[in-house]
Structures are given as C-alpha cells and as structure tokens.
Symmetry: D2
Subunit: 337 residues, 4 copies
C-alpha cells in the first residue's frame, strides 16, 4: 500500500510559462532578440515537451477576457491544462509607479480588479491558481516612498484579491523578487512574503518560490521550502530557472548549480508539495523551446535521481550534518561516473 | 505641551559595544591587529565620548558571573549604564556547530542557560535588554542540515530564553545576519527574524537591526523599521556601522552612505523608537576610540539635521515619491553648501 | 600665474547623454514608462541645464548618416557641442549575439563599419571622441563560448576602429561593464579594458569609466582613475550615475554615496583629466530633465567643495591613511553643518 | 606517438596547502574551531590522499629558515614535493597596514626580504614556485589611501622579488583576491594582476587563479585562463575551492557548481597548463583531511570526464555557442544518468 501511495505522490506535474517560448526583449533592444512566435505554434511546442501538462499564462501577453474561449479550446485540444494565470501588474504603463501598492486609490482598485478578472478567467479555464507577481510595487530611491503606508495598501489590496478568489475556490500564490523592475520590491523574499500571507490569514493565500529570485536574495531554496512548511503548507507554487546568484538571469535550470536543485526537490517531496513544477525563464538569444525543454529534462533527471536515492537516504545524509559525507554523496549519486 | 513632549522624545540614548574599543582579529591574523587594551581604559574612553551613556557588553569577552560586581562599580563610577548584554553564543569552541539550534540537546540547554545567566546579570547591572546574536546557528553547505528540525529547535530555545527574561522584566532583541560565521544563518533578515518573534508571541521579544547586516541583505533599513512597526513596535534595538553592501565590513558610520542613514533615523523617530542607538564596529586597523566616536558624531549630526528639518517636512518629501525632489532635498539639507 | 592656470584647469566640461531625457523601457514594459519626447525639446532641455555644454549622442537612437546636418544645426543653434557619439552596437537585432566579437565575420565587419561611420559623423559634428560600449559582446552561459577566439576578434575589431579614428584625429574610449545585457561581457572592468587598449597600443585608444559600472564590479573609482593614469593618461571619458552596488541601477548621482564621488573627482583633478563629465542615467519613472539636472548640480557641488578644500589638503588627508581622520574630514567638509 | 604525448600531458599534478588539514579560526572564534594538529600527522594525511604529490607551505605557519631541513626530510620520506611556498605577508602584526605596498619603506624592505628568504628556501626544498598573496596590501575606506603611490610601491616591491627569484630559477605566481582582509586589495582580479605582471615584464612572473577569488569577482575562470594564455602562458598556478559567489567561503570543490569546473579544466588543458592543481580551502568545522580529499576526488572525476569526452568534442560544443546544446551536454556527460 505504501508503495502505491508513494508511486501516486511521485506523479509530478510539470508546467511552463507560455511566453518563455516566444520573443524576449531587454532595455537596450526593446523589439526583442527574436521574431514574435505564433501563439498556436507555441502551444504546440509546449504540448510536445515530454511530461509537460500545464501552461501558465500571463495576463495581457497571453490572455484577456476576449480570448478566454479560444484559449480554452486551444489548451483542451492539446491535452493541456492551465496551471496558473499571472495577472499583468507590470507590463502596462498604468502600473509604472505601482499597482497593488500604488499611491493612487484608483490604480489600486484597477489592480485588484485585474487580478479578480484573471481569477474568474482561470476558473473558466478549469484552473485554480493565480500567481501574483507585483513587480512594480516597491520603490527605487531612499527617501522617496512611505513604506508604512504603501505596505499597508499592499496587504489590503492582496486581501481583497484573496477574498474574491476564496469564493471561487482559487488559491493565490504570492511571488516575491527582491528587485527588478524596482530597485526594491515590497514582496522581496520568502519570509517577507510569508508575513504578508499570515497577516491576511486566509487558507487560500500562500507563496510562490521562483528559484532564481531566491538565489538572488542569497536564500537557500531548500530552507525556504522548510520555512513555508513550518507555517503550514504555505508553498503554493514553484518557478524554476538558474542564475549566477546576483541577478535574475532566468537561465536554463542546471546551467550553474547542481546540489541545490537536488536538495530543494528533496524538501518539496519531504514536505508534501503537490503543486506544479513550472519553468520560468528568459531565453533572450537561445531557442525558447529548446531552453524550456532542457529545464524540464534536467528537473526530471533530478527527480529520477531523488526517487532512486529515496527520501530516507537523503534524510540520513542531512542529519549527519557532515559536508564531507555530502561531498561523497554528490560524487556517488549526482555526477557522472 | 507638544513641544515639550517632542523635546523629551529627542533625548536620544547613544551607546557603544565595549569590545569595539579593543583589539580585533580576523582569520589570517588571529592574534589581532592591535594590542589588547585594559578594560578600565576602554571604559574611560567610552565615558569620554560626547553623549554616550550606554555600554553594551559581550558575554565571555566583557562579562561573566564572576565579574558582575566589578563591572557594576566600573559602570556606575563613570556614569554609564548597561544598555544590553550580548550573550556569547559564538566565541567558544562548544558553540562551533550551533548553539540554540545545535543538533545536541545538551548544547542547546547550555546555550539557553548561557542566555538566562546573562539575563540575570543584566538585571543586576540595572539593565533590561538582552541582545541575542546566534552567529553559529545556521549551516554552511547545501544538503548538510535538517532545516525543519533545526529551525524548530531554534524557536524552542529562544522561547525558553524569552520566558525566563519575561519573569525578570527583560526584553530580548534578536539580531539577524544573513551569513558569517556560517554561510547561512537561521536568523538571516528582518522578516525572517520577525517571523520567529511572532511565532513565540511574547511582548518581550523583538528584533535588533544591525545596519550593516541589513545592507548586506540588500534591505533598506528605513523600510525594515517600518515593517517592524507594522508588527507592533518590534524594533527593540539598533546597531550602527557602515559597509560596501556585500559584506559585514563593520566600518565607521557614514563612510560610504548618507541619505540612507538620514532616512532610517527619520523612520525610527516617526515610529516612536525609544531604545538605544548603539555602535557596533570592527576597527581592525584604525584607532578604536576614534572610530567609534566618529560614528557617534556622525549620527548626532544626522539627528541634528533631522531635528532642524522636522518630521513633517520629511514626510511631505517621501509622499511626493519623486526622486528629483529627493535629490534636491539631499543637496539642500544633507550635504555641505 | 599659478592661480590663473589653476582657474583655467577648473573650467570643467559637463555633458549629458541625450536619450536620458527621453523615454526608457525595460524587459517587462517594452513600450517604456513615459511617452516619447520630441528630440528638439530634449535639446532645449539639455541646453537649459546650468553648465552643460556637451551632448553625447547614441547611434540609431539619436543620429545616423541622414540626420547629421540637422543635428549639427540643432546643436549649434543652442550653443552645444557633441561631446561624443556612442555607436549603436547593442540596440539592433543584428548585434544580438555579438558585434565586434561576433562569430560571424560579416557581423564583425558591419560593427566596425558602424563605428567608423560614427567616427566620420562625429568629425562632421565638430567632435573628437567616440565612446564604444560593446554591450552584446560577451556570453551568457558557461561552456557556450570560445573565449580565446572571441577575445582575439574583439581586439582585432577595435584595432580597426582605432586605426580609422586615428586618421581622423578622433579618440576612442572603451566603456566596460561587467554584465548586462550579457551575463558576462568581454570588456568587463577597468583593468580588462586597459589590457585591450594596451594590446592595441595606439595613443588614441583609452578607457571610459561609467561610475555605476565600476561600482557594480566592486571597483573604487578613485583607484581606477589612478590605475589609468599609471598606464599613461588612459582615462578618456567619464559617465556618471549612482547605484546600490550590485546592479547598474543608473540612478541620480549622489542618491546613495557621497565620499566616493568626492574622492574620484579629486583623482581626476590630480591626474589631469580634462575630458567630459557626462551624465548617463536611466530615469525610468522620474522626470528625465530633473533627474539629469540633479546629477549635474550634485557634481558641481562636489567640484565646488573640492576647489574650496584644495588638492593639497586632500592629498594630506589620504597620506594619513587614517579612516578616523577621513571621517572627521567628511563631517567637516562634505556634509551639512 | 600522439597518444603517448597526450598520455604524458595527462599526468596531472595534484597538491594541497598543508594548513588546510589543521585548525582554522575566524574573527569570532580566534582559537579556532578544532584542535591544532601535529604537523607530522598532517603530512601523513596529505601523503595518503590518492594522487596528491605536492605540498604547498605557508611561511610562518609551516616553514621558516630554522625548519627547512626538517621539512625537507619530512617531505622526502613521504614521497612528497614542495609545490610552492606562500610567503607570510598577512599573518603577522607587522604587515597589518600593508607589506609590499606599505607606506613604510622599512616594512616594504622586510616584505621583499621575507619573499626572497622563502625563494631561497623553496630552492632548498627542491621546488621552483613562490605564490605571493599580498592580503594586507590594499585599503579599507574611501579617501584613506594614495592609490597612485601605493600601487607603484607594490609593483616595485614585486619586481624586486621577481628579480631575486629569476636568479634562482624560481617562478613567482601572483595570487589576486578582490577583498579580505582589506575591503579592497591592490591585486584584485585576473586582469589587474596580469597588468602588474606585464609591467614587470619578466618571464618568471605570472598569475595564480584561486577559483573562489575568481568567482567572488564575478569572473568566469575559464575565460580568465584564456585571458592569461593570450598574454603568453601567464597562468602559473591554480588554487581550488568553491563558494556561493559573494564571499571567499573556501568550500569543498563541487559543493555548489558543476559546469564551471569542467569548463575551466578544459581551458587549462587546451592552453597547455602544466602546473599544479592545488587545493586551498578553509574547513572551519568539517574534517580537514576529508574536506581536502573530497576536493581532490571531485577534480579527478572531472578530469576523467574531460579525458573521456576529449578536447575536440568540447571545442565543438563551445563553438556552437548554443546554451541548449550545452544543457544537453551537461545532462549527457556531467550528471548522473
């Protein structure tokens, strides 16, 4: 019986953010490094990646209230489901100086309405997760923001989104990022974000860890996962990518690091995470399909190695608290012989 | 009436960590860069710094159960008070692999006992604040610690210290630091530490912000102060120093930054902080007395500029949310004409 | 006589990059945070900033072979001169995988031709400086570039630009930046760039220090200026902005730091720098005119304080090698009383 | 014949820094985390690590003019050779404010003499390499050093060491490190150090790359190796360890990163590096022997994978300049199946 349950829990759900397959720009080359891709082709590509069953959509870029039916059909015909919608709170000029924490009550209302609309849409698409990344909510300069007031607005706005979502049985994951596009964001790190979720105090609000955002903040993702477990299953969603540790480079998973990925997957498994393993990258110059697929394949390999090792053996290792034993484990189990 | 109250609130309390005046070492020069100083001389120096009335003592280094009476006399004779004791949880071999979160139940008990002893001593010295910096509680390598278990131990141990301190009417400030001497600490940032304090849930447990630790974590201290206010006056203590932003360089205050210091002092004032402004530096090569005094003088200058400006004018500025206005303010009010 | 010479040398030349006054975008909001500004209005604004006499133009964005005459007239009518042209090697899809160090010989030829065209244009505009920022020349991932080959191509391409410029009596300043838009650039830091300049070995090739790029690389700009002096007056150009030390935030000068700016201006003066003090910012959300003007005013204030202090007094200070004396100097000379 | 030559070139020389096996301290626990180890035992341990034939000695800590004969015998009896001596320019109070670049001419003379003595000793021990790490040569605060003067002294002092070493047919490797124990070092990065070596212009002066120092400076070690090749075989020595990218954590090799190690070994091989692969760690709490041996085993595994892959195949890969292909290569060749 145990094995059956275990096997069931091992049925992991992989997902990708649709836009990762398309064109990407930066502040120097605003038209982007590649040509825009047809959305249907991107969906075909997504569906063709081994083991990928979920698609994460970004508001404005991928979905709005006019394109719901079309997207519903497009997903269904490919056997895909909507793993989450990320409401657009960052890609329109109106959010430029803040959205959920904007000093303008009108903008805050619009931002909440935007999230709520996406909540309704995700239900229509058969999904149950909204991932809020409030990229414009923060500040750039010292002595240029009223932190006390703006942080309160932030919490109030999110609380309204959570309340609406609760009625629709939708979960809200809050995605933090220390900086960019602001030099300082209000949802900056795991603990900051957990504090906001706890202040709101509803069961349908939790945290999304983007691995790159966590590395950027010098967090250890495995520890962040444990921290969210201690607060009561508050890890709602995961975004995967890699970076060099000092910026959100949004690279292919496993391009730099190895043991950290293995460790975080262990902790997700150990703490009963049953959400989506979703890819979130910015393949500026490289082929989008290839880059996203590479990340999925890397994670699946790590999952395979984790399954072969078994949770007990990893637990035994970490309880030794001995970096020499850990190094032997890495050589024996994670790198090529 | 208002002015009188205001004047009263402006009676700020400056303090220094005694050891800052003495010899300091690093991992390459373990005997230290200077000669050891006589403790009585250090106390004389401390007492001679304009406006300094508090002394922060470090367990083992400055105080233990045998030297209480002597220290009490030494402080009193110089008109100094004990602003806080920092229990030694980092400078003995026994704490090398952890103290409050050690995997050894015996070590955890000893660590709690150490804190409690210092709580008793601080009361004897007429003080009411213990500053816990659990420098050895954390880990160094991925896949080498059981975060879930160790973070629970951490909270349990601190809860015991808080309980004991409560009976003695002593406050416990938890001082965070992202890294060093471990590559990762369990009390890493403002929000992480506030979460632990909230989990314990007693009124006598709060947070100490060391400005350098906050800069190291890419926090904005002003925002951290506001965050602790939102949680209900949880800023218990302040340590001051400056750095280049990527390590705890423990430099003289104001050696690099300017507007950030002014801003954090504004927020402390605004949120009713009435604790100590305590200097915490590591003057490896420079004269300890001169270095610590320089920091005090810098802070007093900033306080003077803040008083002359007035809270209202700063509030007006930050509500403009306009970096151009902020830049003009800096030129007109903070830098030399 | 000495005073006259000194007064003459104090006639500092301030400049701005024209595009700083206009719209700016990032990877999330590609249409930009503001509305596009009319170029004539931007030139009016530039001309109205106290003490600004130079305009730095960016290829493609501000100038091409069709708009030379118009720009010439526009500058002249406002009493402005062209302080430099920054050839566009970063803002067209064709440079996306490299320009001067591209693996394609054809792209490298086009990149050299682009620079040479701008060299001809700068002469027509009455200027004598080309500032090369090869933003796309670098790589993103380990194991994805042939450093040896690409660095050779880089040097060869620049050598060709230098050769052409030499005939036209134009100087080439090489602007380094550790990263962005690539995760790693070939011209990364002061010393790396100086090495390339020395390899080319012509008198008309030198280095541009962008203060923010230097901070990002954990350089001390004052020391970098001294390093370029030791190699024989190799500091050709300066770009000014501020940041938090871990990204090219491109903020208003003096928003974070103070003594470092004073120090670098001292070293420029001390080493006989007689080029442009040019502003290079990215005022995403704040008013462009106000942001750039604020930087100019801050620098002018620092220059005034430097003149009042005198080089001798600063030299005396730095030769004390005493951070306590430095701290007193900062309190007495740089911050408000 | 080719294969024979290739096999010969594959006879790689592994070495360790002797002190890594002993006790290590930091600024908080100056007595160290472990008990001091007997030097003979440390040598036994070193000799027992598979493939290790070289020992790197640190002046003062491991060797002085009185212990030469004893060390010579101790090494010989264990079949070990002296891979290099690192003169002590950092672990005595006299070097606290600088050694080779000290403002005191007397200290500079002593520092040069110290290096020269070690040069003589290394010859007696049968070695031919001195590794200079001038840890105290730099500065801590802005406006507290005369960079121009001190950098000149630095170069002059090193030139004297190089001159003496040349007569003895000894090579001098200059080891850079951006910071620690000073906040800024004069030998900070690969290019900075290469510039100094080129200024001196002797064939027996080159660079030592400590991988952790390079990561700390956001360098890509593979690229740094290529840069030193371009300047004419200027990579003289290698120190190996791992870190999290923002401090010299001195961890076991391969604890964090994977592809970067493989890449740098490729470039060393490709550019004909025939020096020592020497371990340089700080196993504060973990077993020294186990930690150092783990690094050696990791590197040997990487070398084995490199040999099995072959240089041609790696070259083919990097010339594709395609991160997707690189990701497939990592999955197929570097991580466990």
């Amino acid at each position: 019986m145990k094995n059956q349950n275990e096997a069931k829990s091992k049925k992991r759900k992989y997902s990708i953010i649709l836009g990762n397959l398309g064109n990407t720009c930066d502040r120097f080359l605003s038209s982007g490094y590649k040509d825009p891709l047809d959305k249907e082709l991107m969906l075909d590509q997504a569906a063709s990646i081994e083991g990928v069953t979920g698609i994460e959509l970004v508001g404005t870029w991928d979905i709005d209230d006019k394109s719901v039916d079309k997207m519903k059909t497009a997903l269904k015909s490919r056997g895909l489901v909507c793993s989450s919608i990320i409401p657009d709170l960052f890609a329109r000029k109106q959010w430029g100086e803040g959205a959920l924490a904007s000093a303008s009550a009108s903008i805050r209302r619009q931002a909440v309405a935007e999230v709520n609309t996406m909540t309704d849409i995700v239900v229509e698409l058969g999904g149950n997760l909204i991932n809020i990344w409030p990229g414009q909510d923060g500040y750039d300069y010292p002595l240029s923001a009223d932190y006390l007031q703006e942080r309160r607005w932030m919490t109030e706005s999110i609380a309204k989104c959570v309340e609406h979502a609760k009625k629709k049985r939708v979960k809200i994951a809050l995605e933090f990022k220390m900086k960019e596009p602001r030099t300082h964001s209000y949802l900056a790190r795991t603990a900051d974000t957990l504090l906001v979720a706890k202040d709101i105090g509803e069961s349908n609000v939790g945290v999304c860890i983007d691995t790159g955002h966590s590395f950027l903040a010098y967090e250890n993702v495995g520890e962040s996962v444990a921290m969210l477990k201690m607060a009561g299953n508050k890890l709602f969603h995961m975004h995967f990518n890699d970076n060099f540790g000092s910026w959100d480079d949004d690279m292919i998973v496993g391009s730099i690091r190895l043991p950290e990925y293995f460790e975080m997957l262990y902790w997700m498994e150990k703490t009963g995470f049953n959400g989506w393993f979703s890819m979130d990258q910015y393949p500026y110059r490289e082929d989008g399909y290839g880059a996203v697929r590479s990340s999925v394949l890397f994670l699946q390999r790590m999952h395979k190695l984790l399954d072969e090792t078994g949770l007990d053996k990893v637990e035994e290792l970490i309880r030794q608290r001995d970096p020499v034993a850990t190094s032997a484990f890495i050589r024996d189990n994670l790198i090529a012989q």
